[in-house]
Amino acid sequence: MNTPRRNAPRIVRDIAHARAGDKGNTSNVNVWAYDPADYELLKRALTVERIKQTFPQLIRGKVARYELPHLYGLNFVMQDALEGGVNRSLNLDSHGKSWSYLILGLTLDDAVGEKPQMIE
């Protein structure tokens, strides 16, 4: 595995990797810093408040963040965050498998709450 470019981390994907899972209408995304030195930055960038504020139309319920500091990981559990869940959602990705990349696309700057731009 290549180490991501160290000189200019710009988005969460530059310092961490993630996987999303679903249970009913609840999405969980686990996020892991590649480098232990980036774990504090990851925690500062990915606060519960920021995730709620950035995607208010999608993530409608409570958000919890569990920390696994010895593995440099975070686990976000987001309720009412799957457009009704796999049974009801008309999203092509009704499981929210791609939600991991919603988190990985967030910027690392201090502009908490700012929306990431889709890169063309």
């Binding site: 892991w32 590649y34 696994l68 686990n75 796999v86 049974n87 999203n91 731009q117 889709m118």
Partner: protein, 444 residues
Amino acid sequence: MRESFRIGTGAGFSADRLEPAVDLVERGRLDAIVLECLGERTVAFAHRDRMADPRRGYNALLDRRMRALLPACRKAGTVMITNMGAANPRAAAERTLAIARELGLAGLKVACIEGDDVSALVPPDQPFMDEPGTLADIDMPVVGMNAYLGADAIAPALEAGADVIIGGRLADPSMFLAPIAHRFGWDAADMPRMGAGTLVGHLMECGMQVTGGYFADPGVKDVPDLAQCGYPIAEVAPDGSAVITKLARTGGCVTPATVKEQLLYEVHDPARYLTPDVTADFSRVQVAPAGPDRVRVSNASGSARPATLKVTVGFDGGFQGEAGVSYAGPAAQQRGQLAADIVRERIAGLNGAADLRVDLIGASSLFASAGLRASDAQDVRLHVTLRSREREDAELMLWEVESLLCCGPAGGGGFRGAIVPCVMTKSVLIPRERVRPALDVQVA
């Protein structure tokens, strides 16, 4: 110290690949292989299949899988455990016996575990497990109700010396925990051990998701030879710690990163992961490299198992139609957006229009609700989804989208449309003592 128990995965979901499973059995020197083939919706679809034909309702790939794997398992002395029985374990076991006889595998012991179908045991007004309301609030026909059975339902089949163990809603990690606990003689009340075996099952149950599948992200997470990715092997020590690995000369990779992504896959509170067997605690799990494509996991624990079992209730959810037309080149996004507006207006009169969604793939689809969209996409696809009780509403939607070819924006092409049946599922709880697993063993 007794040698480790070698257990592999041969399917991580209903449609998972077969060839790497055959390779794993042939070369893996496995004590047991697990084929996990059931999700909440899979079991509901299986019930619909069984309603249409009482001989069906089990995994559609069972024949192919058994024909390819049974001879290899027999030769290697590997026990197979699977929930391919889905909504009809009895028919799946009968079919497996017939295949075994055809293949000349005389003496093969096939165990069938039933008792997960609890439709006669759940009251019609049972409250939902994790949301307000009860089953009585759902205005759709129930197709089936299955309780998640744990390792205690599988253990008697192992004690009977079964070579193949087929069930319906056997809980994913329990299919791994049961043979591990059986080999090492663990007490089912030893919750730290149950937690350790459950961790192994949890890491293994999605197959290649722990060996580099569902992991590759070119440039940051490159996976060697993903096309030939191998299924995982767990070498479980008598204390419940394990090394996750894979066969030599297979693609993929096993690294602390692949293992960590799977560690919390579909987990909420890492300290309280509920299964039929244990309240597992993954919060202090250690993940350490132990050689090339070898990762040691240890320090899982657990406390008392839940007093209730989770039940998946499946409902007939009507139909879903999906249809699309593509636009490319200058102003493709604007033309696609115009097509979206036209379709919305034309479909507004349909009965099922309340359950309508219009996406512009390439500009905004998966992340539409997250508010993310491109501004000048050059290759977009209008994608219309409509869910309806009646098939006719879905047919009318497909018709409207196809008609864009003559009376929509310029340059649209590539219409496709399809209608598929839908299911809906809800979860309820049942006191575990009301659920009575039943074992039947037959010899080919």
